[in-house]
Symmetry: D2
Subunit: 333 residues, 4 copies
């Protein structure tokens, strides 16, 4: 019941603040004998790096994952696999100026209400940087899934309401930056090769786990499975997936989950990503004493978080699926 | 890690199949001294009953909740509170005819793949009837919340894509029934009086818990918090909630949760409810041997589940909030 | 994290007070297809019944286990298996007289300090009656173990310090009863056929789980594995179990557990059972206002609980082993 | 349900192998505002160090604890507190020679049976070194307890069956070393100032948690609370603790726990520590192919582990009590 841990049998615990010495993840419950090296973790971490396209922040953030335990001679041993990522480039001076202010759209206000104090340097534990530990842990889960023939891929499905047209999406992001503003988006993740039978009724349904996993990402405000909210506008005759000979579904509006259990069809989830809350435009806020103040959040912030969120959402889906796979295995007595 | 249990400190375990002898719930972790009687549980159960409006099924299903433990002289003792609801009116003959077939949109196929056998009578454990146990447990959580000044209310926000117009919603449901079809909808739940500070970073964010809770309801295919998916189409300057003097938010697009912690504003969540999968219209499916068959699901099914889902969604929100309240309490050292 | 639940993957939740309407257990996480009927539960429950020998209490307590869910056509379905045992013969009048007093050796005092009120009828939730639910759940776990070739048996190993001599043990109990007193004892449980490899390092070692399981039984004050406390007086050359050809241990002082993982040898645990705290002899105590009072606990109490504790200790061992077996299975990827 | 995690609300996750790059602990669930520095962790770690008395191993093992997260300006923030201890002095050559053999009394055999491979360097994850992470985490819990007025102290209560006479104990250890052998012992831990009311019925009784915590330490084979096994030889009139005016117990044979809940009296637990399994004397064993072999475990091993186990047992008691305190707090609604 640790709130910085996730999963039932494949259990990930993360730690670390944005401007502290390091962040990291401990992955417990792994089967032994799984081939793991730092390179495969690094690959996913690199995909999360900023500064790789004109629409992301120019910040240099070279995350290096180091495996501290749980792997011997290239294979998992059954012991917890700990990954450490040291923090660099942590200049907290920009935050010092606004440490008494609550940035709108951020956790500053609520964290303070809950804990009475906060590490204001770079957002502390609430920073998006925390997701690097998720990505590292997710890479390990992805390895497990690959061995079972499951492949997980994500993409930006929409930016600022624009779907499918990559050029217009990019333009919308550049326009927002120009205006000292930001935009939201939608990320979609698909998992192919998932066998039927994963997920546990009643409360640990596969889609309930996916929803928790994805909604736990800072900027996410909505999750839908398969056709999701569109189904709320449909009729049953349009929404049911008919089943064809041999037990293959003829359509997949359900997104690969029926009654909380995987159907063998492709798993498909979408998340709503809110616009980056850090914007240069002036906003109304208060200080810790409740006095009205103006704030303009300067710095190297991505005007749209959706692209960087893709590997994070993939990581969470990997963690959920790998965990469900282990849990399903335990039932096979 | 029991998949039929929900919650961290306020922990609910449910059991029971649609046509078995009884269903029930065990609520553990309650503070002592809380005034509880069967009447308050019954009131919420009655709201879930079908047969009360022209748009719901005519079935007579008089659920009677009986408290078996955990209450002494009208107050909780700190021992687990068990609630039993005996099943009546369980005629399984209609199901006998289709027990070898997989009903599209139901868990028949996936349950069979997972467990190798299933209780086909009335949907067994996957039946919507399971939610009666949730509603009973939720009534206990609601009592706890009331004592803390929190009020939880839900409503049907949309039917078949129609918002706000109750008459047109009702007509859409009646039209669907006429056509041997069904329609989906949206249910919204609001919680007023929630203090700032509930929810635990990183993975047990309040909205992550709400998402899991709501997505675990059978017919739900999407969850959004606050303005949800609409935020994916907005700019940061429109989406951030500015903060006014004394720390009151000037808007509440975030739906009362920031960084996974309650902000003190009204909590607002919406769920996408798919159309009732049981429809009279003929559908393609297969039998347990994978042979193509036609199926038409007869019986007294609600053409739209959204109205009956309102107390269920409320119950889940109550359980999440009460649990978060206890968990937050543990931090106050 | 429900304190009335036990186990990781095979998860048991119990409820009910001594003089309430019923007690029960919900067993979750079971594989499907396991043959279960009420008879096999009843057999273990009957072994726990009092009134079957001259040394136990004459009370008539005919527990009837009723399966409410999770079994269909004689086999588990994967849904939670709920067992209900209704309470009869609940005359609370004897307790009414002492409801303001704290019985020495009982949980009256501490429960009151913790919860501020208590169900004083028959000891409420702290009554030994609670263990009937454990025995019922344990019978289900025993079934699972049998299928894997594991057999669990317990016996009274000592009474009042007397070992091996059944007649002298019985005499010691009768002497104590005569004197309005009671005696303690030791119960030993052995599990044969346990495969090597069960138990999870570091904190969920098999012996750590067994210790928790057994110490959670009301009257137990000590647990030892294998030669236990005797090993604290030995030398390493006497205490290590040498290993012979093919990997069979030549001795089994370790009691079948090495480094928290089963070794393939017989599991052997012993628990110290304190004397029945309810004695006729007059004792000093206080009332709820802290005022000194005398108390003499009349009624039909077993002068030695050890014999009735045998099936309870067996049940707990069964639950731990079955759970460890499922958990081990999840690792076999 | 992570097996390398411990605790319900105060949740500790440890990782690391004896000869890997580092070991560490993540402590989650801490209240914010607690004053913590590396010095107080170091103090407990130093007490665990070997080489400080003639009866312990001469190995130089300078553990340095480094806090990586969760503390800001000297106070806990509510974020997980990660502690890293880098490994030095890790010469694995002595282990290389016996890597194909199973050392009697060690986890080599069982770990191999469970996981199919093992990190044989210095015992890998099964090494006593793992307990350094427990001691570090325990120091944080101790800090929390101190603020609540609770003090936890341990001592060696017996060596080789000798109680109370420190000189004879020391001589027994030196004699064993001389003989290329080792001896067992008993460690006792007491906690003063524990308020009445800690511990959760039924399965999370305070003594059940203590038993699990202590039995999870590698060399421990038995746990008793209060007078423990001696109570199994007593009569009820001798074993019940009478209660005096104002609710103070007149004796404390129960060891401060009644019905699984703390009574307000001193908590007293004892653990049986088996003799160090690594002995120079020749023993029978087998290699990984099951072929008979002789083994003599050379190296700098403590001939009695009991003294070094004192801070480890204290740490586990601190973790259990601090956790129970938080959990009890959650009930105070």
């Amino acid at each position: 019941m640790s709130s910085n841990s996730f999963g039932a049998l494949l259990r990930v615990t993360t730690f670390g603040e944005s401007h502290g010495p390091a962040i990291g993840a401990v992955v417990d419950g792994l089967p032994s004998g799984l081939e793991i090296d730092e390179g495969m973790i690094q690959r996913d971490l690199d995909r999360r790096r900023p500064g790789k396209s004109p629409v992301s922040s120019p910040r240099d953030e070279p995350d290096r994952a180091r495996i501290l335990s749980g792997v011997f001679e290239g294979r998992t041993t059954g012991a917890p696999l700990a990954i450490l990522i040291e923090n660099r480039d942590a200049d907290s001076s920009a935050y010092e100026k606004i440490k008494e202010l609550y940035r709108p759209g951020h956790a500053d206000f609520t964290w303070d209400k809950k804990f009475g104090l906060r590490d204001w340097r770079g957002g502390g534990r609430s920073s998006g940087r925390e997701t690097a530990a998720r990505v590292a842990a997710g890479a390990v889960a992805r390895r497990l899934l690959e061995r079972a023939g499951v492949e997980v891929n994500g993409e930006v499905a929409a930016v600022a309401g624009i779907e499918s047209d990559a050029e217009r999406m990019e333009q919308a992001i550049l326009d927002a930056r120009e205006a000292g503003d930001s935009v939201g988006g939608v990320v979609e993740v698909r998992a192919a090769g998932v066998p039927a039978g994963l997920g546990e009724p009643v409360f640990d349904k596969l889609d309930a786990r996916l929803a928790a996993a994805l909604m736990s990402i800072g900027a996410v405000k909505g999750v839908e499975v398969g056709d999701g909210f569109a189904l709320s506008r449909a009729r049953g005759s349009e929404s049911n997936d008919a089943i064809g000979e041999g037990g293959r579904f003829l359509t997949n509006r359900a997104g690969g989950v029926l009654g909380g259990i995987s159907s063998g069809e492709e798993i498909r989830v979408r998340v709503a990503v809110k616009p980056t809350p850090s914007i240069a435009a002036e906003q109304d806020t208060v200080d810790r004493d409740g006095q009205p103040r103006k704030i303009s959040v300067k710095g190297r912030h991505d005007p749209c978080i959706a692209p960087r969120l893709v590997p994070v959402a993939e990581a969470m889906v990997c963690l959920v699926l790998a965990d469900a796979m282990l849990q399903h295995r335990a039932r096979q007595f």
